[in-house]
Subunit: 292 residues, 6 copies
Amino acid sequence: MPVGELRVSSQPLATEPPPNNDETWVWAQIKAEARRDAESEPALASYLYSTILSHSSLERSLSFHLGNKLCSSTLLSTLLYDLFLHAFSTDYSLRSAAVADLRAARERDPACVSFSHCLLNYKGFLACQAHRVAHKLWTQSRRPLALALQSRIADVFAVDIHPAARIGKGILFDHATGVVVGETAVIGNNVSILHHVTLGGTGKACGDRHPKIGDGVLIGAGATILGNVKIGEGAKIGAGSVVLIDVPPRTTAVGNPARLVGGKEKPSQLEDIPGESMDHTSFISQWSDYII
Amino acid sequence: MPVGELRVSSQPLATEPPPNNDETWVWAQIKAEARRDAESEPALASYLYSTILSHSSLERSLSFHLGNKLCSSTLLSTLLYDLFLHAFSTDYSLRSAAVADLRAARERDPACVSFSHCLLNYKGFLACQAHRVAHKLWTQSRRPLALALQSRIADVFAVDIHPAARIGKGILFDHATGVVVGETAVIGNNVSILHHVTLGGTGKACGDRHPKIGDGVLIGAGATILGNVKIGEGAKIGAGSVVLIDVPPRTTAVGNPARLVGGKEKPSQLEDIPGESMDHTSFISQWSDYII
Amino acid sequence: MPVGELRVSSQPLATEPPPNNDETWVWAQIKAEARRDAESEPALASYLYSTILSHSSLERSLSFHLGNKLCSSTLLSTLLYDLFLHAFSTDYSLRSAAVADLRAARERDPACVSFSHCLLNYKGFLACQAHRVAHKLWTQSRRPLALALQSRIADVFAVDIHPAARIGKGILFDHATGVVVGETAVIGNNVSILHHVTLGGTGKACGDRHPKIGDGVLIGAGATILGNVKIGEGAKIGAGSVVLIDVPPRTTAVGNPARLVGGKEKPSQLEDIPGESMDHTSFISQWSDYII
Amino acid sequence: MPVGELRVSSQPLATEPPPNNDETWVWAQIKAEARRDAESEPALASYLYSTILSHSSLERSLSFHLGNKLCSSTLLSTLLYDLFLHAFSTDYSLRSAAVADLRAARERDPACVSFSHCLLNYKGFLACQAHRVAHKLWTQSRRPLALALQSRIADVFAVDIHPAARIGKGILFDHATGVVVGETAVIGNNVSILHHVTLGGTGKACGDRHPKIGDGVLIGAGATILGNVKIGEGAKIGAGSVVLIDVPPRTTAVGNPARLVGGKEKPSQLEDIPGESMDHTSFISQWSDYII
Amino acid sequence: MPVGELRVSSQPLATEPPPNNDETWVWAQIKAEARRDAESEPALASYLYSTILSHSSLERSLSFHLGNKLCSSTLLSTLLYDLFLHAFSTDYSLRSAAVADLRAARERDPACVSFSHCLLNYKGFLACQAHRVAHKLWTQSRRPLALALQSRIADVFAVDIHPAARIGKGILFDHATGVVVGETAVIGNNVSILHHVTLGGTGKACGDRHPKIGDGVLIGAGATILGNVKIGEGAKIGAGSVVLIDVPPRTTAVGNPARLVGGKEKPSQLEDIPGESMDHTSFISQWSDYII
Amino acid sequence: MPVGELRVSSQPLATEPPPNNDETWVWAQIKAEARRDAESEPALASYLYSTILSHSSLERSLSFHLGNKLCSSTLLSTLLYDLFLHAFSTDYSLRSAAVADLRAARERDPACVSFSHCLLNYKGFLACQAHRVAHKLWTQSRRPLALALQSRIADVFAVDIHPAARIGKGILFDHATGVVVGETAVIGNNVSILHHVTLGGTGKACGDRHPKIGDGVLIGAGATILGNVKIGEGAKIGAGSVVLIDVPPRTTAVGNPARLVGGKEKPSQLEDIPGESMDHTSFISQWSDYII
């Protein structure tokens, strides 16, 4: 696969537009869900009011929730809240990415019963939004602060994403515990990544040394992808796979070491986009060694 | 393996009996251990008194400990304590399952030096007890609260068990970090599950889509079991295995993709119950590809 | 490989010397880095002063940071601070090991931009220093306290190291989430261990049942090593490998089950020390099954 | 005034009755007020749900609120919550006194806009309820715990009431800061006490050495009453007075040292009950020295 | 004294102007002081950075400090910070009053060594600024929130000011513990009030029932002023006085009950403004009863 | 009274001696009391272990308790603990003064049932010990830190003692709420001071402007002493008195303004030392105006 063809969408950088209709609609849904849940479950009402219902916007709710989740005795919630609120309020692309991620969880994860469920409870969603702010700080050369944020995310959510890593929109980090994403990794749009996935480096060499994940890729639980390799758009990486070289677009790689389903020379072509269909296991019949 | 034969014990639902002798005996042991440790280690005495020695029953001690472990600035310890105490006080099966789990850790894990060690320090044990309460809330249609609890367990213990998942008694989640158990998964009695084990789904399809684990199964570290597959009673899943189809009872599946030790046609039969013997490695001599 | 040849360095036990030049120099670097960062990033200055700049020595800074990271509502920060400070102040080997670990991260991890970055943010580094104190308590027969510390480390950093495990100097636990090290495991000097690595036991047998890792070994992400096996000095274990038997020195084992690169009979010999070079992937060309 | 005539009602000791109509009605009012306020003020809704609306009874709400107000890093909220809940649940007189105190604040203090305002915000009310529990512990010979509670009340509310002091029902401690009530003091029913009031002892003598305050007394801000003196029922003590000897019923004592309004021999008789009318200043015209 | 002549300045209500020169200058002084102290006292540097040096403006610093001081487990610091920041950012008069109060402390209290000392440490200053925000909420009919704030101020600072009370600028609440200010009280500009001072009501009557304090008044420690009385501009109330009727401008009232120095008919006239000169005791020679 | 005769003992400055027999004996008593209470009251055992029984010395226990009481979200307990421990460990006079104060409470206050009761629960005792450390910092020119400590003591205990104030040994601050002691005040040995007592200044003049309290003085609740006046040794100041000029030794001053009991010319001489006898009220018969 020619490198030039890899489709890794660059992140949007627009910072000015007001909440668009989509954001407004999702936020209205979230408030309606929270109001319904607060009414049916008094024990949770205080939590729902403090995290969602007392806020006038998604960015305020998210900043409050992240500030309280990520704070520590030496990094106070007020400081973090301020930091997040400033970032989400001034950078439209952060809000729009959050909305796209909420939609991704809602559409792709059958266990995601509501937008508010994702906003409040998905550590992958929360880690990703906090990472986006850390990434923004990194690009502004506020590196010590970005790294401190990475550290808090790694402690609290067990999700370790280097602030320099570039991540697209419509991302689902499902379960998320143990995800590691290295400094020069790039993740495209509409990618779904399960827990324990590593996008790691090749050792102590500096420079561009981490995977590039194309749009619409699905990476199964526990997969390890190492080095500056390219996972083509719409490819699927099986759970537990160890991938050390490029994977062509719309193909499936499985196993340790990973092999292409259908064979290296003429791999089977996927018809849907696995990052969106979340089909983990349809390749089984083609996986010849699977012999139980 | 005929589906009908899968032995997944249904959870007990009895809610009324008083502490039985077993529960009384274990609680007495725990108090004696804590008293001994408090005397020998003044630096820990305060901790032991607050978590164990000041309480009049196992359910109070456990509710206190879980409430303090799982609380956050927006979900207060008093609220959680109340929730746990009500559940453990009114549902005998929750207490009896906790006692069975304490016994499982004590009997199966050579590093488990005492019941109190498990009660206080085993994140797998604590996550499992908290899950049982979340599951009870789920079955009572208090879903938002159940999901909030799941989220706290996932943050604090890095153990992510969907509240709908059904789990038997005498369970050992050893080390436990990174365990993920999906919504329609079922785990039988006397099962031992190591860390990083995934009982995952098959994608975005709804419905019954997660593994069913029979009684007495042992699942090694990092094993990934995906889809509505059946792991027969007394089966053993090797560390790091990726299992996508059924495994017959009392057989061993290893590798990525998993193969049966002894071959698909006539797999070797295990004589003891691996979930109880915790024998991880005796199949090595039979694993033909293992060639170092 | 003859057992006798395994080089697992015993840990230094000297407790008396004052800070040597190396320790002094590293601490001076850390303060200079923190001062520079505090000046450039006011939002982080309070954090840097409380964790580093207000302290007169590395052991005070580290004890403060660990005390605040590992405390809970039932194990107060003041108690833990006292415990750590006493250990680091009275045992020279703990301080010297911390310095060696800081150097290891700085030299081997290209993402480690400064000593202070490692000291403040690397959960692997922090978990390892806290483990060393837990280990010291264990050897002093203060086992309940050692186990309580292990539990806090496992909760906060998702790193689960039994306090009895012996660990050398110059260790890099990179990313670290999900690392599990069993009771009788031994890790030599200058070892590099990625996240999700398990040095596990073989079941419920008591006694010596965990791996022995020689000096200079590199263990890739997600590798699982089980049983009382020996990983010879300078060996390399590929990411995602499952290793159940010995690996000779300066060889590379990959896969599930693990095979030696170059073949069992005449494995390729590594020329550099992988635990230091951190070369994860150079063996790819030799890994014959890798067929994408 | 004959000592025998002093009317200091003994406290009710009944422990069994269920919530009576009065308690039920007040609790319903409190919930309605809190619901109204939560709707009109989203920023306060979380607070109102956690303190009032999520609770099923006044005793739960009060126990939760006191537990969270009085806790410290060494006396956890869960422990205090448990203690308060047990006391309020098992002793009917404590609940009935709380209701009487809520009514007293609502009726006598024009600044008290609602029952919930008093329940949540009046430190005098909260200190008094916590004192009643401390007093109960004292009478049960659980003195160290009672004294620890006194200390927390004194720190948090700046209200220092010895747990042995006996206090009636329908008490209003208005503003409350600085109130000190000694060990052998007795306060009757329907008494109103402003801030900075001292019911102190006479020195280091042991035994019965503190004031006895009759029913319906009003004690103005900053009044100091010392020694085993009797303040007759319906008496009024002017702000800033220093009282060292008995005050007859339904008379007014003012000044430092205190004098009876109308003269020692034939003091003016009050017609209403000052503890209920809260009339602080109607005696001015009769206070002859008052000459501005 | 004709009521109409009482000079109680109405509070400024302008909300728009940017920081004027005065505010800018004071904030620059505060930062310089904090920087100097942080350099000379490393143990305090973290505190000074978090409270002052990390902030870009006085309103941010003050909001942060108040949010962290007044928060509780049920009223989170992030919520309070948000509330304070919004108030101080949008209402110029709040900032300008804070600056005037800082100047008042600096000029009138010889123990006030710097502006930052007052900003960080003076509970009277902090209580007053928080009250101004509560007052603003009160005037916006956000009464439950205003009362909740009053309650927190009363708990944390032992200063109990009803949110409806109107307070001018250039106020010094010195020491402040125990100050009580009632609902309909009004305090003019440049007033100095010592600790334990009560501006109280006359009982349970509703309506306008608390003192009106003119500009430049000095009220000594422990003075109690009750009822809708007028303390004329530039008057002085001696420590421990009990005042129940009007005091003419520029006169001194002392004692319990209070008398005018120089006599009721022709009281001595003060030449300076006592609220600014803070002269507590110069009237002694004129106080005839003072006979030690 | 000639100024030269005022006996205000200078504070001891010795810093070296080891715990003497007295200190050892009191600490042994405290431990024995705490052990007895922990056994009889399990609900308090954790508190007693963390504050007393887990510590090896009085200075550690006191430093831990003060650190946890006085900490805030911006002044961490570990920092304060360190500060207190260093002060108490290196300055013998601080420890010896603490022991003398414990003895004073035990001997003079009939409500003080044990040394541990005072150590844990007396806010006056704790405020005084923390003040001594603040005073030491002040004399070392660490003024910003001393003032920060004063502020925390004022917030937490409502006791406001300027760090420059000099205080002797054997001091009882009984109840303590509202005590204010100014910058140039001096308090001798064996003084007893009740709550709401002010040792205040005379206004905005700089320099020596606060009271000097001789040895053995007793100052009753709510007394206000203003200006650089001398209260002679063994004098007694009645509750609620306002004292603006000197009081001779062994005489009693009462009232507002204060008068000498027995008359200005030939005041009654006290035979015992009121600061030790705590006799508050024996002068009543001689107080002629007291006419109820």
